[in-house]
């Protein structure tokens, strides 16, 4: 049982929870995720860790309402408990001084990108973040993103905030302006697919953090499998980050929709 210490609404259907998890707060690194089970009838779902506070013994999770389980989580309040929380899972982000790193995040993908931005900056990289959303009120964690980014470009589909356009427009502007050594992308699968197509065109090494369906999250079930470079890989133990240019996004998107009819 893990107690919810703080609940913040980030946008109409995105909430941020600060949850008691002292062991995970201490052992997690950028890129790690956790598996949450809200109550005894709930699914086990993967959520990426946005932030951690070792002193308070808490981790921060950002959740978008998309299905039964996320609706249940979002309905919880401060003082309530998550039935089960396990982690940190997956491999942490490989951090070193690459030079200029472009962090391309969309929607709630900004939350897991946050610790990566921080770690990259601390490793001496120039960090340019392109954050995108459909509209102004869906842009989350902007202040936190700005704290560790050298430059932040906000893109909205409707132009209600930042620049009008898709994330790929923002990325292409950066690429045309300066040399980018690495791109990291986290967000909806379709978005990552198009980011990847673009960076492939410019031959920029790209890492994508995948958020697939999982059950146990420890390598046991294989629900999270993806094709990377023609080989089957498990997101939970081999990932969640992969060489984006090798990921079969179309297959991944098809697999993400496998249980859609059940919702």
């Amino acid at each position: 049982m893990n107690k919810i210490i703080k609940k913040t609404n980030l946008s109409p259907n995105v909430i941020q929870l600060e949850v008691e998890a002292p062991l995970i707060a201490r052992s997690r690194k950028a890129g790690h995720f956790v598996i949450v089970r809200v109550d005894k009838n709930s699914e086990r779902i993967p959520l990426t860790i946005a932030q951690a506070d070792i002193n308070k013994g808490t981790i921060t999770l950002v959740i978008q309402t998309i299905g039964v389980s996320t609706r249940k989580i979002c309905a919880l309040n401060e003082g309530d408990f998550l039935s089960d929380l396990v982690g940190p899972l997956g491999k942490s982000t490989h951090i070193e001084k690459f030079g200029t790193v472009l962090c391309a995040c969309g929607g709630v993908g900004t939350a897991p990108m946050l610790p990566i931005i921080e770690a990259l900056k601390k490793a001496g990289n120039r960090v340019i973040t392109v954050e995108a959303a459909r509209t102004r009120e869906l842009i989350i964690l902007e202040e936190e993103v700005r704290k560790y980014s050298d430059e932040v470009i906000i893109m909205t589909d409707d132009g209600s905030y930042g620049n009008k356009g898709l994330i790929t427009n923002g990325i292409e502007d950066v690429i045309k302006k300066e040399k980018v050594d690495l791109c990291i992308t986290i967000g909806p699968a379709v978005m990552m697919k198009y980011v990847t197509l673009l960076t492939k065109k410019y031959d920029i090494p790209t890492t994508a953090s995948l958020n697939t369906i999982m059950v146990d999250g420890t390598g046991m079930c294989g629900a999270c499998r993806v094709s990377v470079g023609g080989k089957v890989r498990f997101v939970c133990v081999d990932g969640p980050e992969f060489d984006a240019h090798q990921v079969d996004f179309d297959e991944m998107i098809m697999r993400l929709n496998a249980y859609k009819d059940f919702e």
Partner: protein, 492 residues
Amino acid sequence: MMTKEDMLALRNESWREELRKKLKNKERASISRTHMPELNPEYRSHNYEEVNQGLSLEQALVESKRCLDCPDPQCISGCPVGINIPMFIKNIERGEVLEAARVLKETSALPAVCGRVCPQEKQCESRCIMNKMGKDPVAIGYLERFAADYERESGSISIPKLDSSNGIKIAVVGSGPAGLSFAGDMAKSGYDVTVYEALHEIGGVLKYGIPEFRLPNEIVDVEIEILRKMGVKFHTNIIIGKTISYEDLHDAGYQGIFIATGAGLPNFMNIPGENLSGVLSSNEYLTRVNLMHAGRSDSDTPVFLGKRVAVIGGGNTAMDSVRTARRLGAEKAMIVYRRSEQEMPARVEEVKHAKEEGVEFMNLYNPIEYIGNEKGKVKQMIVQKMELGEPDASGRRSPIPIEGAIETIDVDLVIVSVGVSPNPLIPNEFKGLNTSRWGTIIVNQDTMQTDLSDVYAGGDIVRGGATVILAMGDGRKAAEAMHVGLQTNNKK
């Protein structure tokens, strides 16, 4: 562990001598083996009720008479944990069923589980003297289950005797059969044992893998409760190597660590269409149903309710999956196995039960491709007909494709059950732990000690995919060796 002399001394106790005299061996051998009462196949294939109903007291008393109480009982050497089999059976014969249960618990932490899922026909029962006399072996497994169930239902469950506490902290990684067996033995020897489990339930494969109709969770929970009463502590939702590191365990004062994380990663065949939706591993399918209770109205976890289900493989897990599919409403539930029934690794009883429940066996067929609909959901499988060739390295005749013999079969759910590979999580996180080229942890076969002197390992993380009882045997062996090691160290 009990020596041959100890066993002989117990055999020479007067009650056993008298019992032996009561009936002539010829009379004992003339009793025919009892049959396990089972639920009606049509009824049971629509629910999760346990198929085998267990022997009645009358049946057990008769069956126990069939055991000749041999001077050199071979059944014991066929048991991976070395249960004193004649001793417990003779206690049943004299009507001391609770004492029989106590004898079982001296060596096995999970008798009610083993009595249900052990392949006795390949172990203890295969060595029974009755076989040599041209008779069916004593139903040791049925009797084991009977004694354990009798004790549980009597309400007077005995807790094994514990040595006085030595205060030495021991960590167990994983709460499946290997971990539980190890924990039980170490607790008996006076250690302060803590079991860490990654999932939210204790029991490992006994909970997420083996279905209710073969092993009810309630039975597992009772055995776990006994371990708790013996002082074993359990922590769920902890991943050793991630949540808590090897170094953390040292810092917390743990002097011995037993790794029993099981065989994690499901194998796939790497054939076209295997990543279509509706094609999943037996681990995923069974975990959804058994651990997450998918298919029940109060569970949020979804599961595909296939009408035409193909399960690929011929092991016990394949049988568990196909029988689960029947219970979830499959009209056509098929086993697709590339060899013939003779080579099938599943227990004879599982195959029999599956057939009774209407499962179709497509033996000597191998899937070569899956075809999906416009949404990427599987709709057909293409299978290759096989024939048996010469025996391969495993001694089984290897299947060879018959050229041109290809069929297409409509399916809406495919469950791949072709084995598992060791989970790399622990080997990746414990520096200095060596693994084989298959990813299994390398241990000294006599002691189960790894290349890290305070770390022992057993079960499927060492074997790569075996049975509950072999895992339990490893746990016992490791406990004995670790106990000896720690006693020697602490005397220095």
